[in-house]
């Protein structure tokens, strides 16, 4: 390791203002780089550059969508049920009896195309940690999926891997899979959608927030060791300081370890129960960069980290890489000094490796040292919360009128009995309508012993309180074809369908989560679809009285110029006071009367 170049410290950065930096390769725009320099009053160090570049990426900063997403807050209906709203890891809703439920849907689309099994598996793992970080026990998952045509070669590669990955991770974690979707359309051919939803439950007093407060409190990293997973872009920085062969060894694929995550869940729940953590954050995209800057930014603002104390799987990682690593199954906690021994005893009991990596300070700065030298010194808010916000241009595409004018009345219709029969059989056999049991039978729907309804029902229903029978119903829906035809109404239809699916089980719909899967925000037509869908969803949530409590935006889902169908996936959660009174679908007994409700 004699090739190690000099560490890029804040002092060095102040002295070498003109040193060229790979901001472009890291995905930053020139004006963004300029803004970073303005904020810092000097050029960023390599590590700072790494942090800003990931935290200001579309994925972490929501820079294209933020301006629109505000409507969810502005138009949110008044709700007594909402305990924690948008902005935290996941929203939290009161369901009575002192219990609260948290739920959220997220995407893992691109990684699942690159490596279907691991992409889908780590997608499930990520959303489960989000829910866990709220202080909740994860109790169920769902998986809305979209693939290219059933018979396309690529679908044959992607689908089995995705389904096995969702199942492999979720089954091993012991979370029942209580619903989802499998939809085929050519627009998803080289861009499958893998969305994953998790539901968690906790007592009101167990709600945890991602904030680091209390000067002198310890910052603790626990779970899996940090390896070179998913740092693709950051290896640009590495290749500068090491021989070039090294950067090619950095895996862009993250591999999940569901066993580690299961142990981490039980370990965290014991920590919560014993009140040993003050603040907690999961590590997902942008790893330690994200966790430290968000915890600090949400709390008193100051944190000091000694980065060399992070336990590594690969000792050759550079500080910048450690900051960006997306190794799975890690959590960061804030612990008072008095509780530290008890905390370590619990992580020790579960064989979860733990390192104290820093502490909360009153300086308002996030300072990260590497063997005593300062490599990061930033205001954490500028990293985590004050990133760029774009008002992207959007315009209704010229082809929209034509699309809407093309009515089905021009299509041929079956005119004879035989033709009708043929049409019916073709419909029944179409992958979009046929039974999905070949997928859902690969998922454990019974583990935890509280599954009241799962496939093939319209909504999944869980019992959350054994004595009272209190429970929840959850459904996810989305229809890209409708949304393309009319994004405003299409998004509303997705909500309406999920809402109905929940209501028909006998549940009272309470809250909404959504995953907005769209093409490139730099295409004004896509941006228009996005803006309209958000406006439609926010308006409909207002009318139905169900606030959006959290969700996720996935942009750049496209192959070349061709975007996927605009696909807002909407999840609705409702409450049942007694799951014993749930209403399953299907006609149950002879002689029952059949009514058709609605227009």
């Amino acid at each position: 390791m004699t090739t190690h170049r000099e560490l890029d410290t804040t002092d060095a950065a102040a002295k070498t203002p003109d040193q060229a930096q790979p901001w472009d390769e890291l995905g930053l725009k020139e004006h963004e780089y300029t803004r970073i320099r303005d904020i810092l009053g000097r050029r960023p160090t390599n590590s700072e550059l790494a942090m800003y570049s990931v935290m200001w990426s579309e994925h972490c900063s929501y820079k294209s969508s933020k301006a629109h997403l505000r409507q969810f807050g502005q138009k949110a209906p008044a709700s007594d049920a909402l305990l924690v709203g948008m902005g935290e890891n996941a929203g939290v809703v009161d369901i009575g009896n002192g219990l609260a439920v948290t739920f959220k849907v997220e995407s893992h689309n691109h990684p699942s195309y690159v490596e279907p099994y691991q992409g889908a598996a780590t997608g499930v793992g990520g959303i489960v940690r989000d829910i866990l970080a709220m202080g909740a026990r994860p109790v169920a998952v769902m998986d809305p999926l979209r693939f290219g045509p059933m018979d396309a070669d690529d679908t044959k590669r992607v689908l089995p891997g995705v389904v096995a990955g969702v199942g492999g991770y979720g089954n091993c974690l012991g979370l029942p899979n209580i619903g989802g979707e499998v939809v085929f359309d050519p627009s998803y051919a080289a861009n499958p959608l893998v969305n994953a939803l998790c539901v968690g439950v906790m007592r009101h007093e167990d709600i945890h927030l991602a904030s680091a407060s209390g000067v002198g409190n310890k910052v603790v990293l626990f779970g899996a060791r940090t390896g070179g997973d998913g740092i693709g872009g950051a290896s640009i920085l590495a290749s500068e300081s090491f021989d070039d062969s090294k950067s090619s060894k950095r895996p862009s694929v993250q591999v999940g370890d569901p066993f580690m995550e299961k142990v981490l869940i039980e370990c965290c729940l014991e920590l919560f129960e014993r009140r040993l953590v003050d603040g907690i954050q999961d590590l997902g995209a942008a790893g330690i960069s994200c966790a430290t800057s968000e915890l600090a930014s949400n709390g008193d603002g100051g944190m000091h980290v000694d980065l060399e104390t992070v336990l590594l799987r690969d000792p050759t990682l550079t500080p910048g890489e450690i900051l960006m690593s997306e190794s799975q199954e890690r959590m960061m906690g804030v612990v008072t000094p008095e509780n530290l021994d008890a905390f370590l005893a619990v992580t020790g009991k579960w064989d979860v490796e733990t390192a104290v990596i820093g502490e909360v300070t009153g300086t308002g700065r996030l300072v990260i040292d590497w063997h005593g030298e300062t490599i990061v010194d930033v205001d954490p808010r500028t990293v985590a919360h004050e990133g760029p916000v774009y008002e992207r241009p959007y315009a209704r595409p010229a082809w929209q009128d034509e699309l809407q004018a093309a009515s089905p009345s021009a299509l041929p219709r079956p005119s004879t009995g035989a033709e009708l029969r043929d049409t019916l059989l073709r419909m029944l056999a179409s992958p979009n309508l046929a039974s999905k049991a070949w997928v859902t039978d690969q998922y454990d729907r019974y583990v935890l012993g509280n599954t009241v309804l799962a496939q093939p029902e319209d909504a999944g229903v869980l019992r959350l309180d054994e004595s009272s029978g209190l429970g929840v119903a959850v459904s996810t829906d989305g229809n890209g074809r409708y949304t393309k035809l009319d994004p405003y109404t299409g998004a509303q239809l997705a909500l309406a369908e999920a809402y109905r699916n929940v209501a028909t089980t006998g549940a009272r719909p309470l809250a909404v989560t959504d995953c907005l899967n769209f093409g490139s925000p730099e295409d004004p037509a896509v941006m228009w679809q996005f803006a309209e869908a958000v406006r439609g969803l926010a308006d409909a949530c207002q009318v139905l009285g169900t606030p959006v409590t959290g969700g996720n935006v996935s942009l750049y889902n496209q192959t070349g110029e061709a975007a996927i169908l605009p696909t807002p996936v909407v999840g609705v959660l409702g409450v049942l006071d007694d799951v014993g009174r749930r209403i399953p679908q299907g006609f149950r007994e002879p002689g029952q009367v059949i009514y058709l409700l609605g227009e």
Binding site: V114, E115, Q118, A224, G227, G228, D229, K249, R250, P251, V253, Q254, V255, G256, D257, P258, F259, M260, R313, D314, S327, Q328, D351
Partner: protein, 83 residues
Amino acid sequence: MSRVVVDVMLKPEILDPQGKAVHGAFDRLGFDGVASVRQGKRFEIELTGDAGPEAVAEIERAASTLLSNPVIEDYTLHVETEA
């Protein structure tokens, strides 16, 4: 009949949860002296005929597509000569 053996291992930089679990078991059982464990797959392929260059090339192609996932795994192949 001849036999071709294909060994498939996760690339060294990829996390190997299986190897990790086995290493943990070694530790708990008091087998010390182990620095690391990696767990992979071994395929023993019996050919109907000889392991000539063509047959081996065929297996090689299968090893890189079917038996291993090049995104995360490496493979090695050798012909086993009957003792």
